[in-house]
Symmetry: C2
Subunit: 492 residues, 2 copies
């Protein structure tokens, strides 16, 4: 609570300062000192027996970076630049190794997906999809929520920023629908439709984020960490197959649950379909650019799904898709250069992957794995793995970023789960999914959370209560029904 | 001429379209077809004896890319993305090798230098430096031109975009000085001071670009190609030492030559110093941000110069400088994400370095080197090397981009020069310098050229005539006096 408030205040203050043209203070020196102090303290602690000094030093820098990602003395990118500088300057890694993350193919998959997703926004195709669904399913309020879920689902495979997807495309439509039905946050009309739609649109975004390797920026980070920490190779289609059944069930169930717990006062919305039709008429027939965008989207999806069979790497597919978008004029080179989210992700992702890779190469992760094996070996893996997954999910109350959460806990939890005997691919995927579903819990859980919480349709108490229920529902769906599906797939 | 006109027209047309919100056509299909046709034709030609098929395929893609860089069917970045896609999709390189350029340390040196240089613009320090020099030396028109040269020189080591340096900082001051002295392009007053100042500011920018590894984006490309093609390791300080003597002489002589050939009608400009003083008064005392910027600039320069002695890589120094700028709040992370020039350079540079590296690894460059040795071995290297340097310089009449020129010709010319017996480091550096000095020739030679030519103070005939004379003067200074200095340094 205190954390979220401080977070909100700082953002507002920063914006105000920016507007006034004054200097932007984006470095919080106290939090920076805390991060550095932890790193320095660890650095001078002798390495545990069986671990090289250099590996321990790498861990000290990594730990300081994780603390910084959590308490945010600076933006993630700045932290990443400083972390790389320190790794290289202290000789903990060579310059070549320090820059190795920038050439990582998993990172470029997500960078390229950011560029491709710009096409949805630029061409207007994203909004058109939303209006088509609202027009089809929007005669009732519940139908409206499914229309928003369908929009989010359709865009998710090639739109790795859930903030851009839910915040950029769905949120404006939620806002205008709420206003159209006379539902405002501050005059007692919040519950007409606004409260229900804001909550539902946010919660389904957490589900779609879990469903594809390319629907959330931290998913490939989990994939990369799984490879580094446990030698597990998760493919695009492997992630997709495991998530599709529990994901679709969750997309059906979650809006129903919220509908029960927080029923909208207005239940019939014939006006919404009419409004959507009007918007579609305004947009006119589909433009050539939108058609090209659809073609590229289908091409990329087909190649991602067929990739394992035809030995085509998902990143190569991404490059093909981007090339076609540039050649066909859907995107200009300036669109690519201006896609700040992609460059941001390139930098923080590269620093984290580089450090995780070095921890592995230098022996820290194997050492930790052996240590855990001796501690948890012989436990019942179903109990151990299940408990680990639950702790992993609910510990997100302590995080204001899913990337920070994955970085801090994914590799360690996966190592322990595997050491306890959990089938490695099962553990890797389940933790990957839960790293998205944990967004349900709070209004500061991830990028889209403050966007949907911000307008004030939903009180904090309601957000947390419903968030907790949705999280439990997701646990039941993914660990219960999901486990059965994963058994069918042969994951355990 | 036709080329330059087409270039200007296209840019203007593109801008107009962008404003009207219509589709931007940035792909020229005819030029694209030409590039692709050349690549496809080469691909199906059998590889020359002694060369692996894969190396020849790599060369076919590389050749098509070079043609594309020259005839520009698309922006450089788009060409780079397509080139990487084709390399990987055809299996000519693995995906890992295809992305290897992105982790190259030379590339990150220049990317980071772009970020650091943003600090000069953002803090206003760049303009302040210019006004200080104008205030000191600007009592005469000739002095003014030295003030502009000094500004450019001071900023050059940490500002790798000569377009940003000359176009962003010096050009606005040239414009306002010209107007202040009643010199306009279209009413017969161009020669009062405007014509002289525009020409001189441009020509000295070509000299400062040649003086530092980090003062032009294509310089590190030459460094990288020298390493790939001939195993020559040029350090930051090695480049600097070789260039400093001929560079400083050229900075003194070139304005004098232009002063003789194109004398300004107004020779005394006491008002300029007064104007600069007024501007400085307006700016007020130096801000804290400017002082921090100076500190970082000095730190980076000292470490670049001392780097070889203390075994600190220039890229590591760049990371330290950027970290300090972010920590001290001179730059925000958003400044970094928004620095399009840096991301642009990262992409095209990575593609080119990757392809050059693969040509070397696959055996094309060694094969070419041996072939050349057998052809030119036994020639007098002074004659051969000198002729190659001259052909390299004057062939820039055919190029509208110095990067395209370096990519297309640097490695081949260096290989031939070395095969003829030219001392490798001498050849590598001389070609590196000439890759900048060739900008003198035309009004489409490189980024800053159309900026200074555009306002119309200088006719095309005058630009070309004076450009040719300045190029010859530079040849005399760099090959004549420079050679003596390089003898002192032990380069031959």
């Amino acid at each position: 609570m205190a954390k979220a408030k401080a977070f909100g205040q700082r953002t507002a203050a920063a914006k105000a300062k920016q507007k006034s043209g004054g200097p932007q203070k984006e470095v919080n020196w106290i939090n920076l000192a805390i991060s550095v102090a932890i790193g320095v303290a660890l650095w001078f602690v002798p390495a545990p027996a069986g671990l090289a000094q250099q590996a321990w030093h790498m861990f000290a820098i990594f730990a300081a970076t994780i603390v910084a990602l959590i308490i945010k003395p600076m933006p993630m990118g700045s932290i990443a630049i400083c972390a790389i500088s320190i790794c290289v300057l202290t000789g903990t890694t060579s310059l070549k190794d320090g820059l190795s993350g920038f050439g990582n193919s998993t990172i470029w998959l997500i960078v390229i997906a950011f560029f491709i997703s710009r096409g949805f926004i630029k061409t207007g195709l994203g909004s058109r999809v939303a209006y088509i669904f609202v027009n089809k399913f929007g005669k009732k309020t519940l139908g409206l929520s499914y229309a928003l879920a369908a929009t989010d689902l359709v865009l998710a495979p090639a739109m790795p920023s859930n903030t851009a997807r839910a915040g950029g495309i769905v949120f404006p439509i939620v806002q205008s629908l709420s206003r159209a039905f006379g539902s405002r946050p501050d005059d007692g009309t919040a519950n007409r439709v606004g409260s229900f739609l804001h909550l539902t649109a946010y919660q389904v975004d957490m589900v779609t984020s879990a469903m594809f390797m390319t629907s959330m920026a931290a998913n490939p980070l989990a994939v990369q960490l799984a490879a580094e920490a446990a030698g597990i190779e998760i493919t695009w289609v492997g992630w997709f197959l495991a998530a599709i059944v529990p994901g679709l069930i969750a997309l059906v169930v979650v809006p129903l649950v919220i509908y029960k717990l927080n029923p909208p006062e207005i239940k019939e919305t014939p006006g919404a379909a009419a409004m959507a039709q009007e918007k579609l008429a305004e947009m006119g027939p589909m433009t050539l650019a939108e058609k090209k965008m659809i073609a590229v989207f289908v091409l990329v999806l087909v190649l991602w799904i067929a990739g394992s069979s035809i030995d085509l790497n998902a990143t190569t597919t991404g490059f093909i898709g981007l090339s076609v978008l540039l050649l066909s004029g859907v995107l200009t080179w300036d669109d690519v250069k201006s896609e700040k989210g992609a460059w941001d992700t390139l930098v923080w992702f590269s620093a984290l992957v580089m450090m995780a890779g070095q921890l592995n190469t230098l022996g820290m992760i194997p050492w930790f794995g052996e240590l855990m094996s001796s501690l948890v070996g012989g436990m019942n893996w179903v109990v151990a793995g299940g408990l680990l997954a639950l702790v992993y999910l609910f510990s997100h109350y302590l995080f204001a970023s899913q990337t920070a959460h994955v970085t801090a806990m994914y590799a360690a939890f996966l190592t322990v789960a595997v050491a306890a005997g959990t089938p490695p691919m099962l553990a890797a995927l389940a933790l990957g999914f839960f790293g998205n579903l944990n967004g349900s819990l709070t209004h500061y859980a991830c990028g889209p959370a403050p966007i949907f919480f911000g307008p004030g349709y939903v009180s904090q108490g309601k957000w947390w209560t419903i968030g907790l229920v949705v999280a439990v529902v997701n646990v039941v769906i993914w660990m219960g029904l999901g486990s059965a599906w994963w058994k069918v797939l042969g994951l355990w």
